[in-house]
């Protein structure tokens, strides 16, 4: 087969998927030139990724919520409230950090399950049930910070979650060696798994992409991982936030693409009636998805509070909308049943890059909002336009 033809076909078939990556690359390029290279500097990229962390984990959970045709508006203030609770437990009661984190996660899970119960068990529309939650937790956050205002958290070990970096074994001329090692391992693992997949497919006599294409793909992806690793290693290395986000994304990616639970979630989103008659417990799936959303909201609260090293009275404001926007930019369909975890993460990065890049370029805040709105609309228009053409 003609090589160029294959490239064209692959692009054509996967335009929806690749579209976002291309958009991200274009946005990054524009800002890199617009800021004279400042945008792509180690320090800025490291910051950018760390700033995205708490929205990124929310958008992972939100993806699944939207996939099963629901919405969760409460996550922002749940994150904010749990952050305040963490601050109180750490300062007033001086509980150990791991215990406080566990309490926050458990509470988040409970809140999510309660939302899920209201929606699947009682039958309240998700929009209404979580709108109620949004109001209630906003009140709870104000109540928790009443009198004290902002609560400063002194524990360094907690704050490291949002600001710290993984330790280094040896620092050679400002390059973070452990980060380089992890990046190299990641590349090796990637290459290994691609080879394994290909071998398996060949074993089944399935069609695979041509050898040149395969090698090109390996080199391309490896180069990206290598480049990101190199940039990060130039400034303190991998942060704990990045490590946490990568773990969450990897976990959810595997669950959604490789397990029957994941398949069931997409089935419920695609056609709840058919899913029910296929033996899938729709209520259980709804509970699981909202439970996971609550858990991730708690994680988001932890990341945000640790990053600010304090709990504030306005923490969590509009997080839910940022997460929803990230999911939509990342290709999640409002009609349900469609949307990838990796897409939403890219969506979150797109939105964060926009904010970061425009700040560096000194774009006024009013224009920033307008541009972000335009990008969100453009992403969804692109999605709708390409949907009918794919396959």
């Amino acid at each position: 087969m003609d090589f160029l033809y294959e490239v064209k076909q692959l692009l054509k078939q996967n335009i929806r998927e690749y579209g976002m990556y291309i958009a991200l690359a274009v946005i990054m390029l524009i800002f890199t030139f617009g800021t004279g290279g400042l945008f792509i500097s180690s320090r800025n990229i490291s910051n950018l990724i760390n700033q995205t962390g708490y929205i990124a984990v929310l958008s992972v959970g939100m993806t699944l919520v939207i996939v099963i045709r629901h919405i969760d508006l409460s996550v922002g203030y749940v994150a904010g409230f749990l952050g305040a609770l963490i601050a109180i437990l750490l300062t007033k009661y001086a509980l150990p950090v791991p215990l406080v984190i566990l309490i926050a996660l458990a509470l988040g899970l409970l809140i999510g399950l309660f939302n899920g119960y209201l929606i699947s068990g009682v039958g309240i529309p998700a929009f209404v049930a979580t709108l109620a939650g949004m109001l209630a937790f906003r009140g709870a956050l104000l109540l928790a910070t009443e009198g004290t205002g902002t609560i400063i958290i002194p524990q360094k070990s907690f704050n490291a979650i949002g600001n710290g970096y993984i330790p280094d074994i040896a620092n050679i001329r400002g390059v973070h060696v452990l980060t380089i090692i992890i990046g190299t391992l990641a590349i090796l693992f990637y290459i290994y798994s691609e080879f394994k997949t290909r071998k398996n497919k060949l074993k089944y006599n399935f069609e695979v992409i041509s050898k040149q294409m395969f090698v090109l793909k390996l080199i391309f992806i490896s180069a990206i991982i290598a480049y990101v690793t190199w940039i990060l290693s130039g400034y303190n290395g991998l942060s704990w936030t990045v490590v946490i986000v990568i773990i969450v994304v990897a976990l959810y990616h595997v669950i959604t693409t490789k397990t029957s639970l994941g398949r069931h979630i997409y089935a419920v989103g695609g056609n709840p009636e058919a899913a029910k008659l296929s033996g899938i417990d729709v209520n259980k799936i709804t509970l699981i998805v909202f439970g996971s959303m609550g858990l991730l909201a708690a994680l988001s609260g932890i990341l945000y509070t640790a990053r600010l090293q304090s709990a504030t009275t306005t923490a969590g404001t509009l997080f839910e909308l940022d997460a929803i926007a990230a999911a939509y930019v990342g290709g999640v369909s409002a009609a349900g049943g469609v949307g990838k975890i990796t897409g939403s993460i890219v969506g979150a990065l797109v939105m964060a890059s926009l904010i970061n890049g425009m700040n560096l370029m000194g774009v006024g805040i009013s224009y920033q909002y307008i541009i972000r709105g335009a990008v969100l609309a453009a992403a969804v228009i692109f999605d709708v336009k390409t949907r009918n053409k794919s396959k």
Binding site: N200, K201, K203, Y204, F206, V254, K258, T259, S260, R263, H264, Y266, A267, G270, N271, E273, A274, A275, K276, L277, S278, G279, I280, D281, A335, G337, V338, K389, K391
Partner: protein, 506 residues
């Protein structure tokens, strides 16, 4: 002015990868009933979409000449303006609005800037009279049966001063009485000068009403028959549709051997809390190994409700009664329990609650039995593709690959995917609810053959069907249902259409 109200000349319409219409010529005489038939995927619907402006001018090549003028529709409203109205299989009525609101939806009668409701109601009554529907125009659509809704659709079309009425399988969801009523109405409309294009799979009704018949196959016009001059039989039509002769629509089985009772239902009662009444009374029936049991009855006699009550009661009725599978007493609280026990239910509404249309063939086929493809909790995707390919081959699902979205397949192929899904769950008993509704003769034959193979291999089938010839042609034993009760059980030797209808209507 020419004899023809409509001439579609050399229409070609391509979708990416498929030529849906290939130089189709289609002529309709003024004031006739013209039946358009063909297998699923033969291009009937596409042709009608071209005609009604769903695909706008420029998206296809060829000419549409209506009333002597070349038409360039770019929207449905353009075709409606000249008097071409389509009534789709899926009715386009708003359930929460009243009959008169629906009839004038989109072309409201106005006095100045505001809607003139009095005039609307008066005009609606006139339209309802024309379709002989004796109802209060102020009732909501959701409170009417499907048959009446269909008539409201026609009333709506009449209110638009229709000259050419296109009906896409209008009787697919109707019972015999309502169907007859509708066909009579179409004939009456003809007398009043309305030309009608009728798309139907029911050859009997085609022969009953058609003045002309055009057959499409694989996007091409195969023939145009004049029913007023020539003698036309079902066989002639079928031959043209499938391109070969089918001797017997219902393939025979030899050496029938029935084993033990595989599924037995005793004294099943069900109460629908939404309707506030009992929908099943004291239903008992059984099916033996290797047997096809037909359940006949009119629309609304409780057949689907019976199937759903057995199959894990997904509708949440209050059910009591006993279910035995292979002699063992079972309790199915949810569909999963039934699947585990080896009972599968292939729904009558494959688009609504059978398939996930936005997903591909493979994930639909494996959905009900994903566990069997899991290794250490992970789905073996290669094995999944292999399994799906096996079903694609054995069920003759026509699609470029198992990665094709199910929503893009024709009705017959969707039904095969639906069947494949439940075969992969490896049940003892397969409950088929209207297994051949809305699919063409060729695909029907394939599904019947498959049913025969399955029972030969030891499966048992319960077939719910509204088509009496199908019930008689395929079953080994027939139960008749009426108003939520089993009102009769007939061995196939004793069953006739008359007997079944008599039981079903009394």
């Amino acid at each position: 002015m020419s004899d023809y109200i409509l001439e579609m000349k050399n229409i070609t319409k391509t979708f990416p990868g498929v030529k849906a219409l290939d130089n189709v010529n289609f002529k309709v005489k003024r004031g006739e009933i013209h039946c358009l038939i063909g297998e699923n995927g033969s291009g009937k619907s596409t042709l009608m979409k071209v005609l009604s402006g769903v695909y706008s001018y420029g998206e296809y090549s060829g000419d549409i000449v209506f009333e002597g003028d070349v038409q360039k529709f770019s929207h449905i409203s353009d075709s409606e303006k000249v008097g071409i109205v389509t009534i789709y299989q899926e009715l386009a009525l708003i359930p929460e609005l009243t009959v008169y609101e629906n009839i004038f939806l989109g072309h409201e009668i106005k006095k100045g800037r505001f809607i003139d409701w009095e005039e609307t109601i008066v005009r609606a009554k006139e339209m309802l009279k024309k379709v002989r529907l004796n109802i209060n125009p102020s009732v909501k659509i959701k409170d009417l049966g499907v048959g009446m809704q269909q008539l409201v659709e026609i009333a709506k079309a009449l209110s638009k001063n229709v000259k050419l009425l296109i009906l896409d399988e209008p009787t697919a969801a109707l019972n015999e009485d309502d169907s007859e009523n509708l066909l009579k109405l179409i004939k009456e409309l003809k007398e009043h000068g309305v030309t009608c294009i009728l798309i139907s799979h029911k050859l009997k009704e085609v022969l009953e009403v058609a003045d002309s018949i055009t057959v499409l196959r694989d996007g091409k016009t195969i023939c145009s028959l004049d029913a007023t001059k020539d003698e036309i039989t079902e066989n002639i039509i079928i031959k043209n549709m499938v391109g070969r002769e089918i001797d017997d629509i219902y393939p025979k089985r030899n050496n029938k051997k029935f084993g033990e009772k595989v599924l037995e239902v005793k004294n099943l009662n069900a109460y629908d809390t939404n309707l506030g009444r009992e929908i099943l009374h004291d239903v008992s029936f059984n099916v033996r190994k290797g047997e096809i049991v037909g359940i006949a009855g009119l629309m609304g006699s409780g057949r689907t409700e019976l199937a759903l009550s057995i199959f894990g009661n997904s509708k949440g009725y209050r059910v009591n009664g006993e279910i035995f599978v292979n002699g063992e007493k079972k309790k199915f609280l949810k569909p999963k329990d039934a699947i585990k026990a080896g009972v599968a239910y292939v729904t009558e509404d494959r688009k609504g609650n059978g398939l996930i249309l936005i997903d591909d063939i493979k994930s639909n086929i494996t959905l009900a039995n994903l566990k069997s493809l899991c290794e250490k909790g992970f789905i073996n995707e290669n094995e999944e593709i292999k399994v799906a390919n096996e079903y694609k081959a054995s069920l003759k699902i026509k699609a470029p690959s198992v990665e094709q979205k199910v929503g893009n397949l024709s009705g017959g192929n969707q039904q095969k995917v639906s069947l494949g899904k439940w075969l992969f769950a490896r049940p003892y008993v397969l409950i088929l609810d209207e297994p051949t509704r809305g699919i063409d003769v060729g695909a029907k034959y394939e599904i019947y053959t498959l049913m025969n193979t399955l029972v030969k291999e030891g499966m048992s089938i319960v077939m719910i069907s509204s088509e009496l010839p199908e019930v008689l042609g395929m079953s080994d034993r027939v139960y008749v249902m009426s108003e939520g009760r089993i009102v009769g059980e007939l061995p196939i030797e004793e069953a006739t259409q008359e007997k079944i209808m008599e039981l079903a209507t009394n």
